[in-house]
Amino acid sequence: MAVLSGLLLVSCVVAVGVGAVPIVPAKALRILAHALGLGERGDWFHYEEVILMTVRLPRVIVAVLAGGGLALSGAVMQGIFRNPMADPGIIGVSAGASLGSVLALYLGWAAVSVLWLPLSAFAGALICTFLVYGIATSRGKTPVSTLLLAGIAVGGMAVSLTSLVLFFALRNYEVGKQIMLWLMGGLDGRGWLHVRLAAGPVLMGSAWLCLYARDLNVMLTGEESAMSLGIDVPKVRRRLLMLSVLVTAATVSVSGTVGFVGLVVPHILRLILGPDHRRLLPACFLGGALALVLADLLCRTLAQDEELRLGVVTSMIGGPFFIYLLIKNRRRTETL
C-alpha cells in the first residue's frame, strides 16, 4: 500500500512536468510548494507556472480521481456480482453517460459552458441506471441476473442511440470530431472545473464504499451465507450499487469512456493482495489512480502532434493483459 502511494506521488509529479513545455520534477515541486504557500518564488518563467497550475495539475488530479474511482467501483462491482469479470459500466453507466454527453455536444449545450458536457454525461449515466434498476425490480426484489440482463439491454439501446446521434452530428465536422474524441476517452482540456465536479462524488462515494469492506468479504461466500451472518444483503447490495454508479458516473463524465481500468486493476491487485476488501478497496483506488496517470502520460508523450486517446491506450494495454490473465487462469473454470 505504501509502495502504491509512493509510486502514485512520484508519477504525479513527473506527469505534471511533462508536456510541450517540459518542467523538471524538481522545479515542478518548487512551483507547487510556492502555489501552496510553502515556498518562495523562484527562478522559473511565469508561463511555466501558469501552464503547471492551469493546464497540467488539474489534468493529473482528474486522472487520479477518475482512475481511482473506476478501479474502486470495479472492485465493488466484482464483489457484488461475485464475478471477477465484472466491470464498472456493467449496468449501463458508461452507455448512459456516452448518450448524455453526445446529446450535449450535438445539441450545442456543451458550447454554452464547460459545465454542461460533464453534467449531461452524469445525468445520462444516472437516468440509464435508474431505468435498468426499475426494469429489473419487481415486488421490491431485484434478482442479480435480471439486473445484468437489463443492463445489457438498456446499455445496448443507449449505445445505438449514441451512434444515431453521432451519425447526424457528423454533418458538422467539428461537432462530430468532438463527439468521437469524447467517446474514445481523454483528459485533454480537463481543468479545475472538472476537478471540482468529480472530486465530490468520487471522494465521498469512494470513502463510503470502503466502509463496506467487511460486508463485501462476507458476501463473497454466498448470498444466504452472508444473510445468515447478519448482513441485509439486498439492502447492502442496493447501497453499494448506487454508490458505485455515482462514482463511475462522475468519473466517466469527466474522462469520457475509458475501458479496462475498472476491470484489470482490481483483478491484478486481488491476485497480489488477496480478496480481503479491507485492503483491496483502498489499494484499488491508489492503483487505478496510478494506472490512469501513467496512461495519460503515455497519451501525451507517445504521439508527436496529436494526443493519443486515453481509452485507446487503456484498451491497448489492458486488453492484452486481461487476455494474459484469462489464459493463466483458464483451468479453474467450467468447460464447454
Binding site: 461466500t221 454466498g222 451465507s225 447478519g230 448482513i231
Partner: protein, 259 residues
C-alpha cells in the same frame, strides 16, 4: 425454555403450497434431524427458521422472540447456518472464513478483540481445521472446506445451529466426522437442526427426527419410534427393514421400491 419454537409454519411459492402446519420445539442440548424425500420442503423449512424467507402463516420464535421482531444481526447472533456445499471462488484463507463468523457481533466497524480471537481459535480447534488456517479454501477438499465453514458457524457463538445437508458430497469418513463434531457441540449446550439424507446417520446422532412428506409433518419423535418400515414405505415409497445391531444402533436397510 426451548431455544427454538415453530408454530404452525406454512409457506407457499407461486400459490403452490410448499409447507403447512409445521410445529415443533427445540430445547438446549437437542439435535433434531430433518428427513424426507426430495422436494418435501426441508430446505424451505430451514430457511424459514433463519428468517431468510418469510412464512405465509405461523411463526418462528428464537430464544423467546418471534423472528419478525428481530434484526438480521440479532437473528445471526442466535442462529448460525451451514448452507449446503458452502464455498467461495475467492482465495480467502481458512482463518479469514472463520473470522467472518464474528460478523454479527462486530458489525461493520469494530475491530477484532481478544474475545473474538479466542472464539475463532476455539472454533478451529473444535472442528480440527487449524491446519487450514493459512491455506486458501479454494484449494481444500470438500470435507476440509466443510469443516472450515462449520468452524465459522461455531465462531458465531449462536446457540442454535442450522445445517442444510452438511454431508452432501462428502466421503464416508468426512460425513461421519462432520456430524460428530456437531453432536459434540450440541452436547455442550447448543442445539442443532440438520437436514440429512442418510437415515442411519440421522438415527445415530439425532435425539429426535422430524419426517416431512409433501410439506407436512409425517412423524416427529425419537428415531426408533419414527423410522419404521411402515413410515418408510409411506413417505419414501421404499421397502425397508429396520433392525438393531450389536451395539444397539438402529439400522435401516433399503431393500427396493415398495410395490
Amino acid at each position: 425454555m426451548s431455544l427454538l419454537e415453530v408454530r404452525n409454519l406454512g409457506f407457499a411459492y407461486d400459490e403452490r403450497e410448499v409447507l403447512s402446519g409445521i410445529s415443533f420445539s427445540l430445547a438446549a442440548g437437542e439435535f433434531l434431524g430433518l428427513v424426507g424425500p426430495n422436494g418435501a420442503g426441508k430446505s424451505t423449512l430451514l430457511r424459514l427458521l433463519l428468517g431468510l424467507i418469510s412464512p405465509a402463516e405461523g411463526e418462528v420464535v428464537l430464544k423467546g422472540d418471534p423472528l419478525s421482531s428481530l434484526s438480521r444481526s440479532e437473528i445471526a447472533r442466535r442462529a448460525a447456518f451451514l448452507p449446503q456445499g458452502a464455498r467461495t471462488e475467492f482465495a480467502f484463507t481458512g482463518r479469514d472464513i472463520v473470522a467472518m463468523g464474528r460478523n454479527p457481533w462486530l458489525g461493520r466497524f469494530r475491530p477484532e478483540g481478544d474475545e473474538d480471537r479466542t472464539l475463532i481459535a476455539e472454533a478451529m480447534r473444535e472442528t480440527e481445521s487449524e491446519p487450514f488456517a493459512d491455506r486458501f479454501v479454494t484449494e481444500l477438499s470438500g470435507g476440509e472446506r466443510q469443516r472450515v465453514f462449520l468452524a465459522r458457524s461455531f465462531a458465531q457463538a449462536a446457540p442454535v445451529l442450522v445445517l442444510d445437508e452438511p454431508n452432501a458430497n462428502l466421503d464416508l469418513l468426512h460425513a461421519f466426522h462432520l456430524v460428530d463434531l456437531v453432536q459434540a457441540r450440541v452436547r455442550k449446550g447448543s442445539s442443532a437442526v440438520a437436514a440429512l439424507h442418510d437415515l442411519n446417520l440421522a438415527a445415530r446422532v439425532c435425539d429426535r427426527i422430524l419426517v416431512l412428506k409433501e410439506g407436512k409433518t409425517a412423524a416427529l419423535g425419537r428415531p426408533a419410534e419414527v423410522l419404521t418400515p411402515g413410515l418408510l414405505k409411506e413417505v419414501f415409497g421404499v421397502k425397508a427393514r429396520v433392525s438393531t445391531d450389536e451395539d444397539g444402533h438402529l439400522l435401516v436397510s433399503v431393500l427396493g421400491p415398495a410395490v
